[in-house]
């Protein structure tokens, strides 16, 4: 069994607990254990970097150092946590001065960071470490007829991490196909959901959410799959506000890709946290079941 240090991040404690549950449940099916990082701290989202860069990297480095002490590679399910961890890891490795500053601070918590680990997003574990073929082989309930919009969002693909394709990535589509579902051609799949602007510049963020929802509906999707808690909350929990603001009547379920994958793997809905949505996906799932019955 392969083991990773799992950094859930603040959102996954409550707001996106279903992402936490479904990540743990789905990886288990592939003999992967996500061991929650002991005493982790907030990664700082984008906001530490607005205030102080060195502080931001130090706080990220504390989490990396805890994982390194355990001898485990680092997995984050949240795109912002992932981006922060990825670049902190890369920059500390290449910048001895930054490393010295950070290790001087980490000493206070009996930690040192050498830079001997890899940082992954949970979707990379499925796309690269497990692979579509292996996913397919474990699918017991292929989601035939389900049309899913793969929503990449920003920070999984941007900034570019290591020379990978960022203008036309396909790994999310491949995962959806492996589940037996159909990835729709979702033109705005790389467009930003507004992120924390939902709190700081609400009119801008609601308009950004509106554009994405409209595009997903126009592309014929039954639901949107996300890989980030902030994208999920913006696209789902703010749908009512978008409807009130723009006179629309959107009702588009937004699930974590791990929840949808979990269904395909035959994991009971409850263990995937399905049922905590504000826009219920239940009607679509029952439609899917009745199609199967026929």
């Amino acid at each position: 069994m392969k083991k990773y240090a799992f950094f859930p991040g603040c959102s996954l404690e409550k707001m996106a607990f279903s992402y936490n549950q479904s990540s743990v449940e789905t990886t288990k099916k592939f003999d992967i254990e996500l061991q929650e990082l002991d005493d982790w701290n907030c990664c700082g989202a984008t906001t530490y970097f607005y205030v102080d860069q060195l502080l931001a990297y130090t706080l990220v480095a504390r989490n990396l150092a805890i994982a390194e002490k355990e001898g485990l590679d680092f997995v984050a399910p949240c795109s912002a946590c992932y981006k922060n961890a990825y670049f902190a890891n890369a920059y500390i490795k290449e910048d001895p001065d930054l490393k010295e500053h950070i290790n001087y601070a980490l000493e206070q918590d009996d930690l040192q960071f050498e830079g001997n680990l890899k940082v992954h997003h949970i979707i990379n574990i499925f796309a690269n470490e497990i692979g579509a073929e292996e996913i397919k082989s474990k699918v017991t309930n292929p989601l035939e007829g389900l049309r899913v919009a793969p929503y990449y969002g920003c920070q999984i693909v941007r900034p570019r991490k290591n020379g990978e394709e960022i203008e036309n990535p396909q790994f999310f589509e491949e995962i959806i196909s492996a589940m037996g579902a159909e990835p729709v051609d979702f033109a705005d799949r790389l467009r930003c959901c507004g992120g924390s602007l939902i709190m700081t510049s609400r009119p801008a963020a609601l308009d950004m959410v509106r554009i994405l929802l409209k595009n997903a509906i126009d592309s014929g999707a039954d639901m949107i799959a996300t890989a980030c808690p902030l994208c999920q909350v913006n696209l789902e929990c703010y749908q009512t506000q978008v409807n009130e603001e723009f006179g629309t009547d959107y009702s588009m379920p937004v699930l974590y890709f791990t929840q949808i994958l979990g269904l395909a793997l035959g994991i009971p809905r409850k263990r995937l946290g399905i049922g905590k949505e504000l826009v219920s996906a239940a009607p679509i799932f029952s439609q899917l079941m009745s199609k199967e019955a026929k």
Partner: protein, 187 residues
Amino acid sequence: MASKPTFSQEISNLMYASHGNPTKTCIQCGTCAGTCPVVEFMDETPRRLIGMINANLKEQVLAANTYWFCASCYHCTVRCPAKIDIADVMYTLKRYSIWNKTYSEDWVGPTFSETFVKTIVRSGRSYEPILAPTYMFNMGAKDFVQEAFTATKMMLKGRIPVLPPRIKRLHNFREMIRRIIPIGDAS
């Protein structure tokens, strides 16, 4: 008498750790403005803002809402043909405006960010209910009601934490932060 750095030099200096090119390499092509998903809501497009930095129009640059409306989606950064990390330029301006307290009272971003960082320094983890007042009291009555309604629905689904989380080794954590920035005992 010693000469003072220009505004554009100050910004380049603050971006010493950036992995992109300095703003003076901008060719004013507008790819950033064409890519930006928030551009409609900005006082100045990213292209114009960079031009203004290079022209040392300090007051006008800092008065524009552009950098606080950047969602850090990095779409401009990855497409810039001059390889300027434009999102990082926006981060730099945010820091500059917080450190120098030059931001407009109408913007929620600066207060939100400072409250966020204070929350982390105090407890090690983020806690949504403490952050909410920094933006909710800046809203009109209608938006406030909508926001409260959304929060209530999330709470009913068990998606809002009741108690603020806190890390175990908080003392060490705060001592660690003290080696980076000065923090008081009370915060």
